[in-house]
Symmetry: C2
Subunit: 407 residues, 2 copies
Amino acid sequence: MAQINENFIKIPATYLFSEIAKRVAQHKEENPTAPIIRMGIGDVSLPLPDASVDAMIKAADEQRSAETFRGYGPEQGYAFLREAIVINDFTNRGIDIAEDEIFVSDGAKSDTGNIGDIFDVNNRVAITDPSYPVYVDTNAMAGRAGEPTATGEWTNLVYLQCNSENNFVPALPTEKVDLVYLCYPNNPTGTTLTKEQLTVWVEYAKANNVILLFDAAYEAFITEEDVPHSIYEIEGAKDVAIEFRSFSKTAGFTGTRCGYTVVPKQLMGNTANGEKVSLNKLWNRRQCTKFNGTSYIVQRAAEATYSPEGKKQVKALIDFYTENARIIREGLTKAGYTIFGGVNAPYVWAKAPVGMGSWEYFDFLLKEKNIVTTPGAGFGASGEGYVRFSAFGSRENTIEAMKRLEK
Amino acid sequence: MAQINENFIKIPATYLFSEIAKRVAQHKEENPTAPIIRMGIGDVSLPLPDASVDAMIKAADEQRSAETFRGYGPEQGYAFLREAIVINDFTNRGIDIAEDEIFVSDGAKSDTGNIGDIFDVNNRVAITDPSYPVYVDTNAMAGRAGEPTATGEWTNLVYLQCNSENNFVPALPTEKVDLVYLCYPNNPTGTTLTKEQLTVWVEYAKANNVILLFDAAYEAFITEEDVPHSIYEIEGAKDVAIEFRSFSKTAGFTGTRCGYTVVPKQLMGNTANGEKVSLNKLWNRRQCTKFNGTSYIVQRAAEATYSPEGKKQVKALIDFYTENARIIREGLTKAGYTIFGGVNAPYVWAKAPVGMGSWEYFDFLLKEKNIVTTPGAGFGASGEGYVRFSAFGSRENTIEAMKRLEK
């Protein structure tokens, strides 16, 4: 009798985005001419850099003739892309990462989801709360999260609260954990850790034999000097951290699909007997067994983001969204709201007026201002009482939304 | 203390292709001018269909402007591709499959590797022997294979021998199993099951509450009438089977990356309590949580294989390799070898001369004939005594190789 993985049926259905869609549809039905502005989206709105489009067209054209055709590529990614990544994202920042520590993939969602394959099911996992739901759900599927409680939390996960009281800096776990997910700049709060604050985590991990799973998908939005772009800027991090990167928000690859994961060769996991095993080798084995490499054409598009023109075009994209974020921060502040994030990230995290929950605040913004946001409670219990504004919309809509709020 | 998944370190390193490379390199060193012909490859050699290249160039160009830019797509694949798949691969063959039973992916390797996520770790797995190593290794990683024995087999896997004695038709398992991997047309043997033979499996699965994982990556090479292209041609298969498809060998997508998986809505798995759970819903949940959809540009390339020009171009590719396979079969037969497969598949499975093992036969062909093959033992114990000839090479090399053998 073929038996299912019952962990799957423990996971509550995700109502967040369908519930948002339902409420927006109802509002529209009641107010057919309402000029709705969507600021809930996590997707980008600007097109791909021309350099990437040009590279894809050239790469596609190469597939017409046997001489330039590309069949199976290396599961870890082509050398041309791994080299460009190493030089531009690491060497140029003074970080020593080797090409064979880079694993190119179809995106950070796959990698943050699949990384659990190389870890034992009995590891204790900590996540910051609120967080990107993939960390929770993939651990739940693997059986690492235990049972869901009535409040939607899981019995075996350790939640590290991030809220205005601790200025969104999670405290170190007070109980024993083995794996910690950190996402900085943070989705959904848009907040960051400084070098000093991240150093605390690296030292904690080293002292406690903990592996940090560091999601840096939003690093391109960093504007402040003391915010690390990579966890490997912190001394000793190569002994304790795996880093996830993405071209999705950086260069608009949400539909083109490319990301990469860094697994330092010196990073070790443990067997039950306490023997050390290279995680780089395990991840390599996982990728070679369950993945056949990212599309050649897409890898050429990613490589092009590192060309001189590509860099200029990527910077223009980031600058555009960063200016949107500034407009949102300024607008919300003028309107009297308490806000966080948005300086080094494309998200602004706004506190609901006293006494209002996430969904009430969401409804207020939808019904009174025709603005769609994302209720913070959808990202975890500590997100209750907040909503997320995204800076990925058009300039026109961003300005118009802030005008409505200032009124 | 972060603990690794120790199943990973049980898996022996794969020496097959590195061992082949080593022997070829040594032969070349000793015979620098040897005119080596490579017939071991599983990769295609002909370029992509023009229709797919044109579609990719158009799709890439759309990414230049915000109006036609594509961000996050549906995790299950775009409707345009799912529709084309349903019509061309199923409806036109008289098979009733719905769009929401199709899950587009970056390839069959990912899907056959990841499908284990939705099944309990205690399911008993059967595989045909020899087989595609991904089935074995991914189950080993998940802890479903038990321990490796000295002969390279796993204690908890059930091996269904396929050899010349049973004409490569696996016998039904004599012990209780829950999941069975079947790949037809078969990699590596190039043999097939007729409708009648596959019906036996569907009926067995139905009677024994077994799920069939049917890998049809090579279906485009079928030339004979009574060989099913899809397991869903067999009555009742939608109650017992998941099917994997690929554009890799069909249309040369080995480096472009696209495939899909069919999970019928009526297909149920069981909980420990015997409750029925929809596997379509579980796979949908898995894909939505750990995958962000296949690149839009690649999906357009796949869609184009179903256009009138695309179909003609794909047929030309398949015809070319099929003719190579015919030449190989004829050549090996004339040379006095006993062969199997190659009629409905791009692989010919040749029996080593009496008393010769896979590697001895490989060495003989390399040293005496300057032909590189793949030793059958690399695909499992029952592959011992065979080598695989691939039809994916050039016409010129294929003809020349057969001339050498006939001598």
